[in-house]
């Protein structure tokens, strides 16, 4: 099976600093992949290169076997969507306006909103259960709702692959869990999700695969249950943790330094 997205020996750096050193990874359809690694290990740079927003110094990205740098941007946008962190925008667009932006790759330079576009927008709002927010200002809803809006935009884009940069980093605990549930559901429907995260448990819960990056290199790549361990987390983050099992198969990692008192 040909991978949906493939990065081949990507090297990149800023100035004299090397950020990515010969990174090769394949992503397959319906996979939910978590990228794990310390700050500055090159996660964001790698995601931007996958999206074609940055050209790597060497190496190539292939989408279904085609060179991404040769694909028209609009065509690539119909397949691969970017979900940034739930930022605040300068202007108070409504949730519906933001989701409607997802239709841009499918329209002529000056599109009118036709019934076909409306159907996609409705569908995306319904899938993420945010239809009741449609008229609310994007600047006024919570961080979790903003993140859901951006994922809805990616769905309205008609994308089969979505790339997310730390989707849970600005969310409260409840929103984090609900977002992870949504992602698992979307991946179950055949969507390929590639996300970076700072929480090892987020890679364990729901992800099919974890990729660990350290100093611009892939240090581990495989099933989260096999790759995530006190040893690998220590190698990655320089902290000692121990695994806490709940007896029903779920695992969490607790730092040794902060035992509950």
């Amino acid at each position: 099976m040909t991978p949906v997205l493939e990065a081949r020996s990507i090297c990149h750096g800023y100035g004299s600093r090397t950020v990515l050193d010969d990174v090769s990874l394949c992503f397959h359809q319906g996979e939910l992949v978590s990228l794990l690694g310390p700050n500055g290990c090159g996660k964001t740079t790698f995601l931007k290169i996958l999206l074609g927003l940055l050209s790597p110094q060497s190496g190539v990205v292939l989408f279904q076997g085609d060179l991404v740098c040769r694909l028209p941007r609009k065509q690539y946008a119909r397949h691969v969507a970017y979900v940034p962190q739930g930022h605040r925008t300068a202007f108070p667009y409504t949730v519906e306006d933001v989701v409607a932006m997802g239709r841009l790759p499918h329209a002529a330079l000056w599109m009118g909103r036709s019934a076909r576009h409306e159907a996609w927008i409705e569908d995306a709002l319904a899938k993420l259960e945010i239809a009741h927010l449609r008229k609310r200002a994007y600047t006024e809803i919570s961080g979790g709702e903003r993140q859901l809006t951006l994922i809805a935009r990616a769905l309205a884009q008609g994308a089969d692959t979505i790339i997310m940069d730390e989707p849970t980093s600005a969310l409260d605990y409840g929103h984090q869990v609900r977002l992870l549930d949504q992602l698992a559901r979307l991946a179950g429907d055949g969507l390929t999700c590639i996300k970076s995260t700072h929480t090892p448990e987020h890679a364990l819960w729901g992800s099919d695969r974890v990729v660990m990056l350290s100093d611009g290199r892939v240090v581990a790549d495989g099933r989260p249950r096999e790759e995530i361990s006190p040893e690998s987390l220590h190698r990655l983050y320089r902290v000692r943790v121990r695994a806490a099992h709940d007896g029903q198969g779920a695992v969490a990692y607790v730092p040794e330094s902060c035992r509950s008192r």
Binding site: K48, L51, G52, L53, R73, K74, Q75, Y76, A77, R78, V80, A81, Y82, P84, H87, R88, T89, A90, F91, P92, Y93, T94, D97, V98, M101, G102, L104, P105, A107, L109, W110, M111, R113, A137, T139, E140, Q157
Partner: protein, 338 residues
């Protein structure tokens, strides 16, 4: 967005223009003005030839060019302001902060200084508008990361440079013959506007403004940031270049119509007022800005020519009336920009 929301604003421009044509030292009734305009459009002459000649002179020769000029300047500066705010993802940007207004103004001042013909001033206004924006872009390119913020800073630097050059030109100008012309003109002056100039400038202004309005969807995406817009398939650099070039052209044209640098305020407050009224979606916001800006500047010009026995420059009125209007809009802003 339903296009129906723009119809009341279009009607507003029509109503304001009609009332403004009827208003003046020589008072004409609304019905007489309206029926004369209808007859003039249809090419039917009135019953009384002397009255006809009078109406023709007052309405078509004297008032219509002014009203049209105010309409065109207001509409184009407001649309440019809205588009630039989206391109720079910053609600504080206006035609002024990109240097284009100062550049065009300096061009005209230089024209007054070195030549007698008004055509030279007009050409120089256009040329220096583009030079100023080019400088802003050049400054932004000098920084290692080519960000939007750098472009705003480049624009501010370019604005400061051309303001300083205008000052120098004023300092050097003959204080009896040329300085009064320059100062009067910088404040904005529609009294000297000529019918032929208005009619010639109207074509590119209307086309340019309409063209800018077509970028609504792209500008929505662009205002979310470059990376997101690119990931949505928008050719970011191309759209930004188109908007910058069109804006510079439009601002240059308003300056040569007699806009003057102080009228630039319109390009900051009208976009905000329009956003309050119909929301931030650029698809509707761009044409709405054009309509509201047109109405606003026509009313400002009415105030400037009717309130006092002498004519107060329109730039002064725009700022004086604009500030309380701006405060009113800000107070009533329910949706934050932050």
């Amino acid at each position: 967005m339903k296009p129906g929301r723009l119809i009341p604003l279009g009607l507003l421009v029509g109503a304001v223009s009609l009332v403004s044509l009827a208003l003046g030292k020589y008072n004409l009734g609304l019905t007489e003005t309206a029926s004369f305009l209808v007859r003039a459009c249809l090419g039917i002459s009135g019953s009384d030839p002397t009255r006809q000649a009078l109406l023709d002179n007052v309405l078509l020769q004297i008032r219509l060019p002014r009203v049209l000029a105010a309409m065109l300047i207001g509409a184009s500066l407001s649309t440019v302001g809205t588009a630039l705010q989206a391109v720079f993802t910053n609600p504080l940007v206006s035609p002024k902060t990109t240097g284009m207004l100062a550049g065009a103004s300096f061009g005209t001042v230089l024209g007054v200084l070195i030549a007698e013909q008004w055509v030279v001033c007009q050409l120089l206004a256009l040329v220096f508008g583009f030079v100023a924006v080019g400088l802003a872009v050049a400054i932004s390119r000098m920084s290692r990361n080519e960000s939007i913020l750098m472009l705003v800073l480049g624009g501010i630097a370019s604005d400061a440079l051309f303001m300083a050059l205008s000052m120098t030109a004023q300092y050097l100008a003959d204080p009896y013959t040329k300085l009064p012309v320059i100062v009067h003109w910088l404040m904005g002056n529609l009294a000297m506007v000529q019918r032929t100039t208005v009619l010639i400038a109207a074509i590119p202004i209307v086309l340019g403004t309409a063209f800018l309005c077509l970028f609504g969807h792209q500008l929505n995406a662009l205002s979310m940031g470059d990376d997101e817009a690119r990931a949505l398939g928008v050719p970011v650099r191309f759209v930004r270049l188109c908007v910058l070039l069109l804006s510079t052209l439009l601002v240059g044209l308003t300056v040569l119509l007699g806009g003057g640098s102080m009228v630039g305020w319109v390009g900051l407050i009208v976009p905000h007022a329009a956003r309050m009224l119909i929301g931030p979606n650029n698809v509707a916001l761009l044409p709405a800005s054009a309509f509201i800006g047109a109405s606003y500047l026509i009313v400002m010009d009415d105030i400037s020519r009717l309130t006092f026995s002498f004519e107060l420059p329109i730039g002064v009125i725009t700022s004086l009336v604009g500030i309380p209007f701006f405060i009113f809009v800000l107070k009533n802003a329910r949706k934050g920009w932050a």
